[in-house]
């Protein structure tokens, strides 16, 4: 896979988004969030999503210049209507509003409805950690998993995430879909025409399948059986039910439903570390926990214990040096978008 210079990719994504009707500042934010995902090795949430966002803008399903509406307010709570704007843009704006509230009250929370797929939760969590705040983030997603006992796509892969600041040069970042594997991996396998491992998914009749396309028609399995199902329900309650967004099977599919809006719901709860203890002390305490994890006796064959966020941080370091890898399919989509918008396609594979 060829690699490309980060600033060039960001520039191109920004230009495409602007051409699609997104205000320039918002387009830059979108580009930053997508490229950040590629940078950290989660390309399933990266630039590969730009094309579908643009197609949904063109279909009138995403409003590229939507206002963020705070519908209801308590001192430390915002009930937000994203007005079908870009998920990344509306979520980042909501996080900015929450940041000042959390600074004032110690904790602040927001629900966001009428939103879209908004990329990797860790993007928002890491932004918060940089300011010595801890964001707990959840979102519902288009139907993909069945509740325990069922075999019908009902819940999304409903991730939950949080990042804590450290003194290690990267945040301790927990970001996990409640599916056995992130659905993005199934989408990527399908795009690449590859099979998926056994145990990941059921087909539409409830039979185990290794066919990625059949899995996308059927259901991906929850992690840890009924526990993952329960956690997916909890994420749905906070992000879909409490927010007033579409719930579970009512959430629109980004790829399948080009005739209706997604109405995804998000839940943010933001803690100001300083309300609890000195941020420097918190970082030192997190660092000691990290040191303790890494010093644990290892299972046979394990060379090193990596803490959550550490593999992605190493990947980002590598990608910063050598450029971010972009797959052929995504590259072709970008070329087509540039042609359609009469933009020069400026990406050339970068040498080391």
């Amino acid at each position: 896979m060829n690699r490309y210079a980060i600033d060039k990719v960001e520039g191109l994504v920004t230009d495409v988004a602007v051409a699609a009707g997104v205000p320039r500042d918002d387009a830059a934010l979108l580009a930053d969030s997508l490229v950040d995902a590629d940078l950290h090795g989660t390309s399933t949430h990266g630039v590969s999503r730009l094309n579908i966002y643009v197609r949904r803008i063109q279909a009138g399903l995403i409003d590229p210049a939507a206002e963020l509406l705070v519908e209801k307010r308590r001192p430390a709570v915002l009930v937000v209507d994203a007005n079908h704007g870009l998920g990344q843009v509306q979520a980042a704006k909501t996080l900015d509003l929450l940041t000042s509230l959390a600074g004032e009250y110690g904790i602040a929370s927001a629900t966001i409805r009428n939103s879209q797929h908004f990329g990797a939760l860790s993007y928002y969590c890491n932004r918060a950690a940089e300011q010595d705040m801890v964001l707990l983030a959840m979102t519902n997603c288009e139907p993909a998993m069945s509740p325990a006992g069922g075999c019908e796509a009902f819940f999304g892969t409903n991730p939950i995430a949080s990042s804590f600041p450290t003194g290690k040069g990267f945040p301790l970042k927990v970001d996990l879909a409640t599916s056995l594997v992130a659905r993005g991996n199934v989408i990527a396998a399908n795009k690449a025409g590859k099979p998926i491992p056994e145990g990941w998914a059921l087909d539409v009749d409830g039979n185990p399948t290794t066919d990625a396309a059949a899995a996308l028609e059927g259901t991906v399995l929850t992690m840890a059986g009924h526990k993952g199902s329960a956690l997916a329900a909890m994420v749905e309650l906070f992000s879909g039910v409490l927010s007033g967004a579409a719930v579970a099977s009512q959430v629109g599919s980004m790829y399948k439903h080009m005739d209706r809006k997604q109405n995804v719901g998000h839940f943010f709860s933001l803690v100001d570390v300083a309300a609890f203890l000195d941020p420097a002390e918190l970082r030192a305490r997190v660092d000691r926990m990290i040191d303790g994890m890494k010093a644990c006796r290892r299972r046979p064959g394990v060379d090193e214990i990596l803490v959550p966020g550490e593999p992605e941080s190493r990947k980002a370091e590598d990608n910063r040096r050598h450029g971010i890898p972009i797959g052929e399919a995504t590259l072709e989509e970008l070329k087509t978008l540039c042609q359609e918008f009469n933009l020069g396609f400026t990406l050339v594979p970068c040498c080391d």
Copy 2:
């Protein structure tokens, strides 16, 4: 297993706790929480724990009449020192304080340090749900699980829980340890002299074991491999690190360490539903989600899809009618406690 009348058990537990130095109101609260766990079928967090609490009071490791100290305050945040009081008592008192803050600010949060094992998280979550509030609760616990890649008891089984109000007669209750199974099950198997299923635990050398005692010396496995490990880390960060309590392997063991305090940490985040939407509307939305879950196409051999909290609610109904089952070992402990405190042992198995 014999069953016993709920009010009799509660009365006995209260009397024992009072005799051990717990103020009567606090003793009644402790009894209510323990009996509530037995009532819902989670006897691992029920009356079976009374004996060790009393022994730790007698050893000076739990202060039965500790003051709850709010060390630090932001408008919507309480940083609490439980002063080594009973976990259940200090947590319930903190929840009461949070309830009025959440009513005012929409959301409020507390950390609690210098606490103990405090029973089932769902006890607090269900109390909140009864008041149309949603509590997100986490706690660290004595070391039991290794981070992914390791084989050393480091994290506790670190549960996370939340309950949402419904119109179904029971809350939708998510309460899950991040271990494959709750460590209480291993303790119960060990108490009963029974083996545990393969895959639950590793012995002290990192080898799989079905011996409950060996598992208690070794580590129980996280649910879902590295995902469960990451979630355990997140729970540790909120409840152990942010609170200023002991962290991971530093948490004292309730049974093994009769020479030092536990210093468990808890994290509570309490949302007032009314800050987001009308509580009646929320309940209706939760009910629709429940109906949707139950209506999902079922896998072969599955007669009914149960939602989280539903099995426990049915168990509670049965136990309310027929009395709560108490095992022989626990019964013997209760008898001994009554003898030591010169209390009449008033429990007789109840007829239907």
